[in-house]
């Protein structure tokens, strides 16, 4: 006869409250703090860990950055050299997506600075083992990484397309290998520029919309002003009435020419990184000035905003 299973009485298990446990694990100090702020910034821009709506804009921007390259590669594979008449290849690619990059900077850069200041979360960062410069630079690095990814993604698609559709891929690489360091270098300079100005603007306001509008306005106003000063040959004059209709006289304008026009062109913020792009790719420069001058203008347009970011956070107090 099989024996009966033993009858158990009393408690079968107990739940213990271990109480508060002290932490004696590793503490990685400032380097961990910088990494945490950097990755938080990257996730914030890409909408990782947030709802689907937060992911739509970055996704569209990435598609937008790669779209011209995909079109180029498709045309290249179907129609061969005809594509060369439509696109300038790697050297012209940054110019093609520059408007998209400026829009991206204007819309997304404030996301990294303004909510922390508006909600005063910044106060909690500043009492941790980091300096305000650590915080600001980690955020800048996060934003620039995303812009770099945007800039490079299209160029990578383009390069792969050019190599794979070539009659002799290896021969193409041997003949055009210099395009790779060039697109990396030019992309870096473009990304630094797209990062610096919008992020600097974002340090001066707690309202995201104000920062975005200001950045878009800045690029538009400088582009239009330079266009008017250097290209427009007629402009509206006095208004007069004729048979009950208001008519504007056309006046002849004399656009700026010569050295004045060349220097004025440097005031077009949107063109500044493209001057650098032309220099890196060693193609005919958009600027007819000595190379040192557009390089200097680019330096001013990037160093001053970065210095402003540093200065704004250095003087931040809780």
């Amino acid at each position: 006869m099989a024996s009966e299973p033993p009858v158990t009485t009393g408690p079968q298990g107990e739940v213990f409250d271990l109480g508060y446990q002290r932490y004696d694990g590793p503490r990685e100090g400032r380097s961990r703090a910088r990494k945490a702020i950097y990755w938080d910034g990257v996730k914030l821009i890409l909408g990782i860990g947030r709802g689907p709506k937060s992911k739509i804009l970055p996704l569209l921007l990435f598609i937008g950055a790669m779209f011209p390259a995909l079109v180029f590669v498709i045309i290249l594979s179907v129609a061969g050299d005809v594509a060369g008449f439509l696109f300038d290849g790697p050297a012209g690619y940054n110019g093609m997506i520059s408007t998209l990059l400026i829009m991206f900077g204007a819309i997304m850069a404030p996301e990294l600075f303004t909510p922390d200041r508006k909600d005063r979360v910044l106060d909690l960062y500043l009492v941790r083992p980091i300096t305000s410069t650590d915080y600001a630079m980690a955020r800048v690095a996060a934003f620039m990484s995303i812009v770099l990814a945007l800039v490079y993604s299209g160029q990578i698609v383009l390069q792969l397309g050019l190599i794979l559709t070539a009659t002799e891929p290896w021969g193409y690489i041997k003949d055009n290998w210099q395009d790779i360091p060039r697109f990396i270098g030019a992309g870096f300079l473009v990304a630094l520029f797209i990062t610096a100005i919008p992020m600097a603007v974002a340090t001066f306001t707690n309202r995201r919309a104000y920062a975005s509008v200001f950045v878009i306005g800045l690029f538009m106003v400088t582009a239009v002003t330079v266009e008017i000063l250097t290209q427009v040959e007629s402009c509206p004059g006095h208004a007069r009435s004729m048979n009950g209709e208001i008519i504007l006289d056309e006046l002849e304008c004399e656009p700026l020419t010569g050295d004045a026009a060349k220097y004025i062109e440097l005031l077009n913020f949107g063109a500044a990184p493209l001057f650098m792009n032309d220099l890196v790719f060693d193609i005919e420069s958009r600027s007819e000035l000595h190379d040192a001058i557009p390089i200097g203008a680019y330096g001013v347009y990037t160093v001053i905003p970065l210095a402003l970011i540093w200065w704004q956070y250095r003087r931040t107090r809780i």
Partner: protein
């Protein structure tokens, strides 16, 4: 044991405004209250200990280092501000994990600590809700949790019960007391509410006009005194006159009579005065000190 915080001749001037003047005090393990009215210099003292501002003269040391010279010491320090400082769109869990990493903890450890701390502050069930959906009491607990998540040696709490209803205040004071006495995390609690200090603190430092007015164990301020309180329903004036005739001075305070330095002779005189006046006695007891008395007795007034 060396002090956790040390202020030596600590002075901070903002232009011609004196925020803190020659303050010298130590904060040791346990819960220490920093008590004072608005403008007494409490927030300035906290900012100096956090290294956010430099002293005009004197020194502030935290765990043996000068916080305004290096930020590394803040890895073992926690801070809960009085004002709102939480993002609304992220969950408490996500936010605390991030803040633990900003304090230097590796991601895996930050995750474990976050779960532990949220359980301790009673937000375990709510950890995946966006902070924006929390009540004021819950947000205060998240603020405390972010100050504790990296297991600091010392936490500076600035008016932690501000804006809470009576129930929320009780819960927060319980949590503070548990943190200070059971978790082994020392606390400096800055407040203008004496009740908060009486409920939680072991020691108190009283700031007044930027100077240290008094300091010592809270029990020293709340023990029985030699002042006698006699509460009667009526005949106050007759009792005062009768006592005065016997050489005992009594002061009327509301329904009570207050007799300072009451010994046996004074007690006999009170008994006789009560009997002769026919007054109905409600209560007679030695006065137990409260922190309110510090301000009433302060030489400069507060």
């Amino acid at each position: 044991m060396p002090p956790l915080l040390q202020a030596a001749g600590l002075t901070k001037h903002y232009g011609s405004t004196i925020a803190l003047e020659d303050a010298t005090f130590d904060v040791h393990e346990g819960v220490t209250g920093l008590l004072g009215p608005n403008g007494a210099g409490k927030s300035t003292a906290i900012k100096l200990f956090l290294g956010l501002i430099r002293p005009t003269s004197g020194s502030a040391e935290v765990l043996g280092t000068k916080p305004y010279e290096t930020v590394e010491g803040r890895a073992r320090l926690g801070y809960m501000p009085e004002h709102e400082c939480l993002p609304s769109s992220v969950t408490a869990s996500e936010f605390l994990m991030h803040m633990a990493q900003v304090s230097g903890l590796p991601p895996a450890h930050a995750r474990t600590r976050t779960a532990d701390i949220l359980r301790h502050v009673g937000l375990d069930e709510e950890r995946y809700r966006a902070i924006g959906e929390y009540s004021t009491g819950m947000r205060q607990r998240v603020k405390l949790a972010q100050a504790l998540v990296h297991d600091p040696v010392l936490v500076l709490l600035d008016e932690p019960t501000a804006g809470l209803d009576p129930g929320g205040r009780e819960e927060m004071l319980d949590l503070i007391s548990r943190t200070g006495h059971s978790f082994g995390i020392s606390i400096m609690l800055s407040t203008h509410l004496m009740g908060d200090i009486e409920r939680t603190a072991d020691r108190v430092i009283v700031l007044e006009g930027g100077r240290v007015a008094q300091e010592g164990p809270v029990s020293d301020f709340t023990k029985d005194t030699t002042t006698l309180l006699v509460e009667v329903d009526d005949h106050h004036d007759e009792i005062i006159t009768a006592l005065s005739a016997g050489g005992v001075t009594a002061i009327r305070r509301g329904q009570s009579l207050v007799i300072e330095d009451a010994g046996d002779a004074e007690l006999d005189a009170v008994r006789d005065a009560l009997a002769s006046s026919g007054a109905r006695l409600r209560r007679m007891a030695p006065h137990r000190g409260t922190l309110t008395d510090i301000f009433r007795d302060a030489p400069h007034g507060v």
